[in-house]
């Protein structure tokens, strides 16, 4: 997508986007569509400003800051239209697969079936924050899943209310080396009457060099999912289609890696942390349309690249930060940017989506091999090393860990990660993200972020950077 006007990179609010939107040529809006294989679909446009999604209840959009590039706007439009897209997929006769807990490992297989799309009900954890609403959490609480559980409990609210995604043709849930809270949520989803196919993900012992046994186990699990998909779609697994999908998925993964690289290496910050987060999460289920998602990320990659090459970007000597664990409340990331930070690296427990999948051989073995390298099934130490490597690559001056109160893995992982970062003299701020509506706790988190940034600034001036 071409830029429609020369713009100086900066972050703008929804109001500015609304005005800027008037300068976008009509044909560009008309051309930007998902499910392009469906002709004359009036609903398939998605290049709209945040205000469009605001009136449908995403109240947080009033407070967020967005990158002002056309590519970023396109990304936001694509992300915010995902909910509707999944409904439209279903209306257009496509198969819809809900996939949970594996964080991006199963989707290449699902998308290699024709007219089949996947989505993550887990990602509904953003909805209460985007809507500034307790509705989904209150709904989960009706089943006894309350504040002592991770925000993924919003997914249970979604399954119960049946107003956030269409009734899936197939539900696949990963258990084992995943979040225990998700498992608690899943058992309630089962009680609601949904059929769930379980994918078992074993823990990986990072001290054992030989993963053969694990790999064989994973291959078996993948085969079972494949059988389920064949039965739901009525189509046999096709190797050629698989490899053509893998090609696309690999391309998408490369784009994301490239975007991350520019974020890390550019002198000036070429884009906001939320855009990077949206780009990274595209690797989970491609926001429901793999082809269009590739095109969206290609646009974003080109924008970031050209900014990096031109040396343009946001103003100021921003503090370089690594963000660990995705912030359920997107406003937090904006806030740290407002305080003078930029995101140069991130560890969102989704790095099973980063390795390229091999292009030759047994499909299930290739998937298993790619899966085996992820941090989800690995140890905390493995995850910590991934973080430290990024710190080293990016010259990060600090790390922010946004935990989730009530989640099982955050308390276990956060402390060793902090310890490891402190040993490397990387100041680290860890806090629990506050659920919507708890204003007093929220202000305490803001206070800590502010103190943290003051500390980093003082360190920098001491070091004479």
């Amino acid at each position: 997508m071409k830029a429609w006007t020369d713009i100086i990179p900066r972050q703008i609010d929804f109001r500015e986007w609304h005005k800027l939107f008037m300068s976008i040529p009509d044909d560009l809006i008309d051309e930007t569509r998902y499910y392009r294989h469906i002709p004359d679909a009036e609903w398939s446009r998605y290049l709209f400003p945040p205000s469009t999604y605001l009136v449908y209840g995403n109240r947080l959009l009033r407070k967020l800051k967005f990158d002002n590039s056309p590519a970023a706007l396109r990304l936001w439009g694509f992300v915010l239209s995902e909910g509707e897209r999944i409904y439209r997929a279903r209306q257009a006769g496509m198969k819809v697969v809900a996939v949970m807990g594996d964080l991006g490992a199963l989707t290449p297989l699902i998308y290699s079936f024709p007219d089949t799309v996947a989505f993550y009900p887990d990602c509904l954890w953003w909805t209460p924050f985007m809507m500034e609403s307790k509705v989904l959490f209150d709904e989960a609480a009706e089943f006894g899943i309350g504040e002592d559980c991770c925000f993924v409990r919003a997914a249970l609210g979604g399954f119960s209310k049946r107003a956030y995604f269409p009734n899936p043709d197939l539900n696949i849930a990963t258990v084992g080396a995943t979040c225990d809270d998700m498992a608690a949520v899943l058992s309630e989803v089962g009680y609601l009457g949904y059929d769930i196919h379980y994918f078992e993900l074993p823990h990986r012992d990072d001290n054992r060099p030989d993963h053969e046994e694990l790999k064989q186990f994973l291959i078996g699990q993948y085969r079972q999912v494949c059988t389920e998909l064949e039965s739901v779609t009525g189509v046999e697994f096709d190797k050629d289609r698989f490899f053509s999908t893998v090609d696309k998925v690999n391309r998408l993964r490369l784009y994301i890696a490239e975007i991350k690289q520019y974020m890390r290496e550019s002198e000036r910050n070429p884009m906001g942390g939320l855009e990077l987060l949206n780009a990274e999460f595209a690797a989970l289920s491609y926001y429901g349309d793999l082809d269009e998602c590739i095109s969206v990320l290609d646009d974003l990659r080109r924008t970031v690249k050209s900014r990096a090459e031109e040396g343009s970007g946001y103003n100021g000597q921003l503090l370089r930060l690594i963000w660990v664990t995705p912030p359920a409340d997107p406003l937090l990331m904006n806030y740290i940017e407002e305080l003078g930070g930029r995101i140069v690296g991130s560890e969102y427990v989704i790095n099973q989506t980063t390795p390229l999948i091999g292009g030759e051989g047994d499909p299930f073995e290739l998937l298993a091999e790619a899966h085996l390298n992820g941090s989800l099934m690995g140890s905390t130490q493995f995850r910590t090393e991934l973080i430290l490597k990024q710190v080293e690559q990016s010259g990060a001056e600090g790390a922010v860990i946004s935990g989730i109160f009530g989640s099982t893995h955050c308390p276990y992982e956060t402390v060793p990660i902090i310890e490891a970062l402190r040993k490397r003299d990387v100041p680290t701020l860890a806090f629990d993200v506050v659920a919507p509506g708890k204003i007093r706790l929220q202000s305490q988190v803001y206070n800590r972020m502010e103190a943290f940034m003051e500390t980093l600034m003082a360190r920098r001036s001491r070091c004479g950077r």
Partner: protein
């Protein structure tokens, strides 16, 4: 109760061509909210916080499924200079139009919603409603359409006369009214409300089909196409008799049509495959003097409306009258909530 949808969720599904558990029940509770809240209409029409509080109070009392920001159809014309008479217990009426001579039209400018007339009242009310309850209840902002605003700028009779004797002047008035409606709509959207376009003077009860085609339809189309640029679902409300206009309604491009005196079966058959229908309890049925059975009419409307292919919202044909009988409104809403969509995912 677990598994129950809220109004925001019902409307959300409807606008994606899905079927919620049942049609939303959204009678046009506008100024009637002041009666429920216990304030006079001058306060209601001039204070955004009061308007919002009254809307929230009425919604809590009746449980209808949407918040409505509307005072009177003259709100834009007033912000452009026409004088309106505010009254304690009746809705505002026009006192003196700003245009008494064609030569004055050039001086008209679209108003600034942030400062002119009572438009800031609108924006304050929307902001308050959206911030307080916008996660579970959609907020609707009623925007007077160009034809109705033009009438407020020069007087109804003059506008109708102009359509015959000075069509260019009429179009000039309509043009500036369109710009004004666009500006107000944009600000309402930014405050979090979905626009409901109201054009009571373009009703078949007031103008002919020909006048509608020539003077109301083009600007309605432009206004709706402006809103479609943002992919917003547009609600068009025309009260009175629209039976002679129904095919032209489809031409406006509206996504939802809120109607009054139009046979619901005819509406379903003629435009129901393209347009979601919102209607249409005769509002006199809510008055003390009426002997109509609210439950029966409600049931009848529901049975016919629920079959609309593009979806249906149970509503009133016009604003809920100020002197409605509370029990009758309760009965209408409660009866409306008993409906169920067979295709619902529940």
């Amino acid at each position: 109760m677990a598994g129950e949808m809220n109004p925001r969720e019902r409307w959300g599904l409807l606008l994606m061509d899905e079927f919620p558990d049942r049609p939303p029940v959204y009678p046009l509770v506008t100024s009637y909210a002041a009666t429920v809240y216990g304030c006079d209409l001058i306060q209601y029409c001039t204070n955004g916080a009061t308007l919002a509080e009254a809307q929230l109070t009425a919604q809590r009392e009746y449980g209808h499924e949407g918040l409505s920001v509307f005072t009177d159809v003259g709100i834009i014309a007033e912000a452009m200079g026409s004088k309106y008479l505010l009254r304690d217990f009746e809705v505002p009426i026009i006192d003196r139009p700003v245009i008494s001579d064609y030569s004055q039209i050039d001086s008209l400018k679209p108003p600034d919603p942030g400062s002119n007339g009572r438009l800031p009242v609108y924006l304050e009310a929307i902001d308050k409603l959206f911030s307080t309850a916008g996660d579970v209840l959609p907020v609707f902002a009623f925007i007077p359409c160009p034809f109705t605003t033009a009438a407020g700028l020069c007087g109804v009779e003059n506008l109708l006369m102009n359509t015959i004797t000075a069509p260019e002047a009429a179009h000039q008035l309509l043009d500036v009214s369109l710009q004004a409606a666009i500006r107000l709509s944009d600000e309402c959207i930014l405050a979090g409300a979905l626009p409901v376009l109201v054009d009571p003077l373009a009703s078949g009860s007031v103008i002919s089909r020909k006048t509608f085609s020539e003077f109301a339809l083009p600007d309605l189309r432009r206004l709706i196409s402006h809103l479609h640029r943002y992919d917003l679902d547009v609600v068009l409300h025309i009260c009175g008799d629209t039976s002679m206009l129904v095919d032209l309604i489809a031409e406006t491009g509206t996504d939802l049509f809120s109607f009054d005196k139009l046979n619901i079966v005819d509406a379903v058959n003629s435009i129901g495959d393209k347009i979601r229908l919102v209607g249409n309890l005769p509002t006199n049925g809510l008055l003390e003097s009426s002997e109509l059975s609210i439950e029966e009419i409600c049931q009848d409307t529901l049975e016919k409306g629920i079959s609309n292919p593009k979806g249906f919202v149970l509503s009133t044909g016009c604003e809920v009258p100020l002197r409605s009988v509370p029990e009758k409104l309760h009965a209408f809403i409660n009866q409306g909530k008993t409906a169920r969509y067979e295709k619902s995912p529940m």
